[in-house]
């Protein structure tokens, strides 16, 4: 049954439906409401898990690493600086093949300190060996957590579910949550392939020297590259059971006959779809390709989805300083060696919570229709401020 829920509460309820055995987190804006709600569910006896209060994100990540190593389904959540403080452990969780699931409530990173939304935090950790998924709305964020545990546990690869801070975590909108029984039939209990136990001692995360390290890393790399089928199956089965499908690694919107394709991840896609509807009504052949997982990177799917377009505009809320938007660089790599390549341009937008309006999206699309030259642009800047700072330098 659909009801109005705040994004964070809805996600916490979804996580509880996944029946984690250990939840450990340290609160940070805008993730806080998620872990507060989980703590309350635990206090009310509605979440049968060990709820561990950590004194830092480093500890929170370490606790879920340890819990997962003993064979428990383990969950944490963070944002921004908190996520970065977890970094060392995050690499370890992936390297040890522990199927932890984490929510990232996407937020800008310091400095300057900023509590508002962009995707720089999780995008900066794209090479850590976790599967990274981005949710478009609150419903998808909820559904994605059930899928995430299934994917993580079948591949022994941890999954980050990324949802835009405030824009989704603090949005109240209609959400349909499954019943406990439905959730159980989609996500069976965790049966670890290996786990630490005193009755059958083993070592996890042992040292691997130059003779073995590369092979161990390549096994994880190969599992990632082969994860497409598992991710698709999780989405297909979910669709079959609950009637909702938001894409596997990609999804498209009015893309088939589009001369200009806009690419993005997360909540911006909603605004983008409204912009594309208006552009279509005005007769402009514009469409959207939604990237749902940036790791594993759906390279060939992206090539197939984009290659017929004249121009591709990658609109993203992150930047590799000194280069361009991160997703844009990666999409360019999908066309390496291709005979025909659309003009692929980078549009960095919405950093540190700067609002992105429908009109800006339309402007980008119309600009690409008239000129498909590859370019790197930053939209929504106050050029006067920049110019003054430049003069002072």
């Amino acid at each position: 049954m659909r009801e109005m829920m705040e994004g964070s509460s809805a996600v916490a309820e979804s996580v509880a439906l996944c029946r984690p055995k250990v939840v450990c987190a340290y609160p940070i804006t805008p993730q806080t409401h998620i872990v507060e709600r989980l703590a309350r569910l635990h206090a009310e006896g509605r979440l049968d898990a060990g709820y561990v209060l950590a004194e830092s994100e480093f500890t929170a990540a370490s606790v879920v690493l340890g819990a997962s190593a003993t064979g428990a389904r383990a969950y944490t959540a963070s944002s921004s600086q908190g996520l970065l403080l977890m970094t060392e452990v995050i690499f370890n969780i992936a390297g040890m093949r522990l199927p932890v699931v984490m929510t990232v409530a996407n937020r800008a990173v310091s400095a300057p300190i900023n509590i508002w939304n962009d995707q720089q935090d999780s995008m900066s950790l794209r090479d850590c060996g976790w599967i990274q998924m981005y949710a478009e709305d609150v419903q998808e964020a909820c559904d994605m957590h059930l899928q995430a545990f299934r994917i993580a546990e079948s591949l022994n690869i941890p999954v980050m579910v990324c949802m835009d801070g405030y824009i989704l975590t603090h949005a109240t909108e209609p959400v349909d949550l499954p019943s406990a029984g439905e959730a159980d039939s989609y996500l069976p209990p965790f049966e670890p392939r290996f786990h630490l136990t005193p009755t059958d001692p083993m070592t996890l995360g042992a040292m691997a020297g130059p003779d073995a390290y590369m092979e161990v890393r390549m096994l994880l790399h190969r599992s990632m590259q082969q994860a497409a089928g598992t991710i698709r199956q999780a989405a297909v089965d979910f669709h079959e059971m609950f009637g909702r499908y938001a894409g596997a690694q990609l999804d498209t919107y009015h893309a088939d006959d589009a001369e200009v394709l806009l690419v993005s991840m997360g909540s911006l896609l909603g605004t983008m779809k409204d912009a594309v509807d208006e552009l279509r009504e005005e007769g402009h052949p514009v469409g959207i390709v939604k990237v749902r997982t940036i790791r594993p990177f759906p390279r060939s799917e992206l090539h197939d989805a984009l290659h017929r377009a004249r121009a591709v505009g990658v609109v993203e809320k992150d930047i590799s300083l000194g280069l361009e938007g991160i997703l844009c660089s990666e999409i360019r790599s999908a066309f390496c060696g291709a005979a025909e390549t659309p003009g692929i341009s980078s549009f960095v937008a919405g950093l540190g919570g700067r609002d992105i309006r429908k009109e800006q999206i339309k402007e980008i699309a119309l600009g690409l229709l008239s000129d498909n030259t590859c370019r790197v642009e930053v939209t929504g800047l106050d050029h006067e401020v920049l110019w003054r700072a430049h003069e002072e330098e």
């Binding site: 804006t29 949005a171 429908k358």
Partner: protein, 182 residues
């Protein structure tokens, strides 16, 4: 689609006010979305909250720039802020004030309604909880929100005696604004 912008200060329940409106609209069979834009997170700092109501699913995530209606919980925010910026012609403006709305300096062309929400809250609720009163006044002046649905939302969130007093105050505000539109 109808868009509503709420201005207030941290601690006045601006976000909750938006959620009450969205929940009541949803209960009436419509789609709704409510979300806040915080300044820094502290009591007394200006907070803006937004509500969208539509008969179709709502995908737009940007802030609201051209609202159909405005709710102002703290009239001191009129000083130095362009609260009516982008507001549509003929929009409803519901303001928490005990004085004449003509003194607020709001431009012509809007339907302005004043509600003495703070006084009413202190009298009926015994505490300066104004968001339920403001939402009742909005429902009364706009005719777009069902009071029964609002009552249900308030009761769910604030069960017990305090919530019941808030509902009494909300009803008073609803009746107070009947025919009070400037």
């Amino acid at each position: 689609m109808k868009e509503i912008r709420i201005h207030g200060r941290g601690g006045q329940g601006n976000v909750t006010l938006g959620e009450f409106l969205a929940e009541a609209a949803f209960a009436g069979g419509l789609y709704a979305q409510a979300f806040p834009m915080f300044g820094s997170e502290r009591h007394g700092a200006p907070v803006t909250a937004y509500v969208r109501i539509s008969d179709r699913p709502i995908r737009l995530r940007s802030q609201v720039y051209e609202p159909d209606h405005l709710i102002v919980q703290d009239m001191s925010l009129f000083a130095g802020n362009d609260l009516t910026g982008g507001l549509k012609e003929g929009a409803l403006v519901v303001v928490n004030t005990s004085g004449p709305v003509g003194d607020l300096g709001i431009a012509e062309g809007f339907r302005v309604v004043g509600v003495p929400a703070t006084e009413l809250a202190l009298e009926v609720v015994g505490k300066p909880i104004i968001n339920t009163i403001m939402v009742g006044a909005f429902a009364g002046a706009s005719g777009e929100i069902e009071m029964d649905a609002l009552e249900k939302s308030v009761r769910e969130r604030y069960p017990g005696e305090l919530g019941e007093r808030e509902i009494v105050a909300m009803r008073r505000a609803f009746e107070m604004v009947q025919g009070a539109v400037r």
